[in-house]
């Protein structure tokens, strides 16, 4: 007969198992094995950091300063302007002598900024709306979801056009407008999650402890929906960036001389016959960012929900 292991060892092992691996760490491990997703993650991080940090480096020209004597320079050329500025054009200059590289970087700050902030707005609305509808249920739920159905049928772009033209071209407004129309799918996803969670024991336990509905939603239900929410957030950012770019393309988003990737592509498209670089460089950066985010989203879905992966 073997002697049972000392109790302290059992406890130790149990603690080990408990620490074992959290859902998040599992997901991170699976994500790391997905090469495409990891490359995407790195591309995205590099582009983001470049846009946020590089403009502060010395030698990066002011993106809005025009040099009439240095128009349409080729890439990798340095030049001295009439007023004595020494400039190195990494990607050449545009039809006003502005540095394309620095315009892309500054444009990226707007595009990425709108992407994140508008996503945050839509995330907040969508998660709370969906969680309330799913948790309360009954008539309120069906009424709230009917509203979502109706809004789904609206031509978003047209509404955003109306909102942005009516209330001016303020940047913060762009966040709110885009965020306000992009929350629908998020609310559906969260509602579905909450519906399947709300009859589980931990919610019952919370209720029997006397917690208010609001507290149960915020502290117990929403944290449990985090997986699908992260996935969908990753996919919302590129959608929002597309919308911002379309608005800028229509001349309703960011106003010149400031730029976003959308307005840069618009400038390039207008002059594509004479100078293709203006269209091609911003398009590559923009498409690469959207690519990276979409693949990252797909990878996260596989990582966080291995059941449905590969489909």
């Amino acid at each position: 007969m073997t002697t049972p292991p000392p109790i302290s060892a059992v406890e130790h092992a149990a603690a080990e198992i408990e620490r074992g691996s959290s859902l998040g760490r599992d997901a991170w491990y699976r994500l790391q094995k997905n090469k495409l997703a990891m490359i995407s993650l790195w591309i995205f991080i590099i582009i983001t950091i470049a846009c946020m940090v590089v403009p502060f480096f010395p030698g990066i020209p002011n993106p809005n300063k025009t040099y009439p004597d240095l128009k349409s320079m080729d890439a990798f050329q340095s030049a001295v302007s009439k007023d004595g500025d020494k400039i190195f054009y990494l990607l050449g200059s545009d039809y006003l002598g502005r540095d394309i590289f620095s315009r892309i970087l500054y444009g990226g700050r707007v595009s990425l900024g709108v992407g994140f902030l508008a996503t945050l707005v839509s995330l907040t609305i969508g998660v709370i709306y969906g969680a309330v509808a799913g948790f309360i249920g009954g008539k309120l739920d069906s009424a709230m979801m009917r509203v979502v159905d109706i809004l789904y049928a609206l031509p978003f772009l047209i509404i955003v056009i109306i909102l942005t033209t009516f209330f001016g071209n303020k940047l913060w407004l762009l966040f709110v407008c885009i965020g306000a129309v992009e929350w629908l799918t998020m609310s559906r996803i969260v509602r579905g999650q909450v519906l399947s969670l709300k009859n589980q024991e931990f919610v019952e336990a919370a209720r029997s402890l006397g917690l208010s509905n609001w507290r149960i939603i915020i502290r117990h239900l929403i944290p449990n929906t985090v997986g699908p929410v992260i996935v969908y957030t990753t996919l919302t950012v590129p959608a929002v960036m597309r919308l911002e770019a379309i608005l800028s393309f229509l001349g309703l988003g960011i106003q010149p001389p400031n730029s976003s990737w959308g307005s840069l592509i618009k400038e390039g498209a207008d002059r594509m016959v004479s100078d293709q670089a203006l269209l091609i460089y911003p398009s590559i950066v923009f498409a690469a960012t959207l690519f990276a985010l979409n693949f990252l989203g797909d990878g996260l879905r596989d990582a966080l929900d291995p059941k449905t992966s590969k489909d």
């Binding site: 031509p155 047209i158 009516f166 959308g262 594509m272 498409a287 489909d311």
Partner: protein, 308 residues
């Protein structure tokens, strides 16, 4: 009987939604700062007042809204402030065919490309064919229309000289514009089709069909297709809404005289009735499409027992 009741209840719902949409656009437009008669030049106060009286803009908003609805029911969308001498009906009648043709052609292209690609990818799951097709589809999703449009124009229009890049008179510009518009939705539909076909192909009744020796192609098209296509049909409503909005952008790229240009101008100049009219027409179209889509879905999947 059940079907009739379902259609009637959905119609009522759509009418209610339409009313909401009209009301929302009307009041947002009117509560926004600025007005149709504010110009770059300073217009004397009393002239603006006079104009507002002429167009009935001085009455309380609710009264104006009721009047607007009354005229709308008779099919009168009101005058346009920005285009002197034209009614909104004129402008929409003129621009609508352009936007509609591009939108529906784009939808046709999206379906004709997206569904076969999705089915092929699903039936060759996790092979190089699948990866290549889905890679291209991802490219289609990531490249915005206003990148694809100019590039297509550059390539087909200027390099190969197959199409005219701009201008409505020459019908070939339609094709390029619709292609530009449809590619994104083709890519999306391809991904959607692949996903749902895979779901269906993993189900028991497909295994049964295969086990009893049904030919693979017949399994794919006779047994799996009907179930697999359902999410795509559900997506048609939102897709059309997106296509109409997207046609505004494509019109801009190819210089086509559709509703898009009028609409952006109207919104900037506070051309109230033109804004409301355009939104109303588009909303009617989209709601009708959603109704049709719902009915097709019931036909595709009778399990979805007409629940309203």
């Amino acid at each position: 009987m059940e079907t009739v009741r379902y259609i009637v209840s959905r119609l009522l719902q759509s009418l209610f939604a339409l009313f909401c949409i009209i009301a929302i656009t009307f009041f947002i437009a009117r509560l926004a700062p600025g007005g149709p008669f504010l110009d770059d030049k300073a217009v004397p106060e009393h002239l603006i007042k006079q104009m507002e009286v002429n167009y009935g803009l001085d009455k309380p908003l609710v009264v104006q809204f009721a009047k607007y609805l009354g005229k709308l029911v008779q099919g009168d969308l009101g005058p346009s402030f920005g285009n002197k001498g034209f009614t909104v009906n004129d402008i929409i009648a003129q621009g609508w065919p352009v936007s509609a043709v591009i939108g529906f052609l784009g939808l046709a292209i999206a379906l004709a490309l997206g569904i076969p690609v999705g089915i092929i990818a699903a039936s060759r799951r996790n092979t190089n064919v699948d990866y290549t097709l889905m890679g291209v589809a991802m490219l289609g999703i990531c490249l915005p229309t206003f990148v694809i449009g100019p590039l297509l124009g550059l390539f087909f229009g200027l390099k190969l000289d197959w199409f005219d890049v701009a201008g409505w008179e020459n019908s070939s510009a339609w094709i390029l514009a619709s292609l530009t518009l449809g590619l994104y939705y083709a890519a999306y539909i391809a991904r959607l089709t692949r996903g749902s076909m895979l779901d269906v192909l993993n189900q028991d009744y497909i295994r049964t069909a295969r086990a009893k020796g049904v030919a693979p192609l017949k399994v794919l098209f006779k047994h799996a297709f009907r179930g697999g296509i359902s999410p795509v049909v559900a997506y048609l409503g939102p897709a059309l809404a997106g296509l109409i909005g997207g046609s505004f952008v494509v019109e801009q790229i190819f210089g086509l005289p559709g509703l898009g240009q009028h609409f952006v101008k109207a919104a900037t100049n506070r051309d109230y009735w033109l804004i409301n009219g355009t939104v109303t027409v588009i909303a009617v179209l989209i709601l009708a499409m959603n109704l049709v889509v719902d009915l097709i879905q019931v036909w595709l999947d009778p399990r979805r027992k007409l629940k309203s």
